[in-house]
Amino acid sequence: MTGSVHRRQQRAAWIFAAPVLGIIALVFVLPTLLALALSVTDYSIYALADWSNLRFVGFGNFADLLATPLFWRALRNTAIFAGLGVPMAIGTSLATALLLHDATVRWKPVWRVALFAPYVTGIVATAVVWRFVLNTRFGLLNWALAQVGVAPVDWLGDPRWSIPAILLFVTWKVFGYNMIVFTAALAAVPGELMEAARLDGAGAWTRFRHVTLPAIGPTLLLAAVMSVAGFLQLFAEPYVMTLGGPSQSTVTVLYFMFDEGFKWWNLGQASAVAFVLFVLILGVTLVQTRIGRRYEWL
């Protein structure tokens, strides 16, 4: 009896799962393995012209990468993006979640929808809008700054301000998602503990530090680590807004890979970059599992 039930389940399971697993194998597993293979060849435009030009180069692509100044620049830019962006994004999400969580705020669903709206819209259209908002002369941001007496900033033309400019846009775009995640986490903070702390005379900051923060800690860290992985994959914003400039100050690892791969057709080199990106994100995820285990969350 149990045997045939299991056999039936087995058959049904394969009917249910096989199609999507097959697609995953075709468009994900296979190309990833191919990427590994490509990264040890010198596939370039010469190979596109003539297959016999293709050669195995082992770690040659990786060595070339290490000697390419733009690659290091891209790594540095990406690190700055993540290093500045994650606190900005997570901080904004947390602050807004706390704000919305306050008991005195009315019409919460309305505000939630308004603050979440940027997240659902696409990257290209909003990047185009923000390119205009950040315009030095005609943009809304510099106009608003001028109202409070700040001189106009050359957001997208000055290499020192280009990364903060893009981060302003990215923060605006993504903070809604984690705001919702933190809202859910805040709702799970044990109410009795809060009441007890309040009765004991603890101030708002102390309550936050000793009751709220430990309760949402795991969620906070998980969101931060996932956020880092997201920032490591920044591409569309530099592509639409700055073309990697000015002075290559917004070239990210993925932008570098795209240019190398599709603009110059150095697929061998580009696959090596993809592999490096993979290792970076793997590192981030390992950190995540380690932190998760420490908080006994996983």
Partner: protein
Amino acid sequence: MGGRAHDPRTTRRSLIAMGAGGLTAAALATTGCLRRHDPAALTFWGTGYEGDYSPHLAAAFTTATGIPVETQSLPGTAAHEKFLTAHAGGSLPDVMMLPSGWVAEFAMIGAVAPLPDPALATDTFHGVMRPLTFAGVPHAIPWSVGSQVQFYRRDLLGEVGYDAAPLTWDGWRDVGAKLKRRHPDRFAILMFLNWWDTLITFAGQAGAYPLRDRDTRGDFRNPRYREALAFYVSLFADGYAPGVSSNEIQDPLAAFAQGYFALYPSGPTLLTDLHRRAAEIAPDRWGTARMPGPNGPGRVSAINNSIAVSATTPRPREAWALARHLTSAASELTFQRMIGSLPARRSAWTSPQLADPLLRPFAAQMELPAELPIIVEWERIRLEVQIVAERVVRGGLTIDEGLAAMDARVDAILARRRELVAAGRIA
């Protein structure tokens, strides 16, 4: 959310059903009335103004032959990757406009077909066909020649004692200094840090060829190139030119018209813009002259475009007919009227519409393009050299460090070519 009169599951289900149904209906409806890609039409891809206005020329072709043509205008900054991925994916258009520097590269990878009849490309200027020839066979027809000249403000130069634009580097520096003294908050020369044409012009003027050893190594440290780079950097260092990239000056023509710049190196299409916006700057206030060289005018950067036919087009005869039409003298003159691009066809230059004195500097430069390497990697080298030049201008590198960086970078880019040349696999 208040209570509901209905069972929530039914409401949800009907909502889902409606949503899915509505979306599917909308999708089918939209695609149903979409203008479908006409299989009988020839496809043509162009960039820039030529791409935008090619429908006009295509219309004339359709009227004459009855073959419909569909044109697509690609953004110039994305054209290289679009063409490459289209070739790799087998979806190149029948006919395409390529900057001349790309033709050899595309011929090597088998994307463009050789000319069926060499006579298609004989009626042109010396030096224009060289980049379009691969393995001894021409692979594209020259379409337009856009040499760089200087547009200058007669009135502003008159104020500082010049009745014509200076044709030497010393003259440019003199004008720059004088203008700067008169109007310290303005500039003299409009050059963008992310545009490579002016530096190439200076290198051409100085007679510096950028590569050596059969185009497998950089030669940027030779004294002639050094001279060109030093002059280029000095213009920024002394404040005669603003150290900005093209997206910081939204409207360069307006800046030129308002007198913020007195010298504006540019190509022939600027003529059309200036004529169109004559209200902002009257025609008698500006003129054109050849670009200055160390000892007078010489070779300049030229942005030449050519027409090529895909090697995999299913209809080569019609595609070549379209190519022939687009590069006919009549079409090229039409374009000159519409957008200012100058014909590559020598016989078109006898037309009275090209007798305008403003076009004389262009005509003089047609025969003198800067000698540039015809290799696959040149596009990339050009961009990277300009990036290093930008860093030198912004103060991150000295001139010698910059030249060394250029050589190092170019040697790295050419590594593969070096190996293939050494193995005798390419010329």
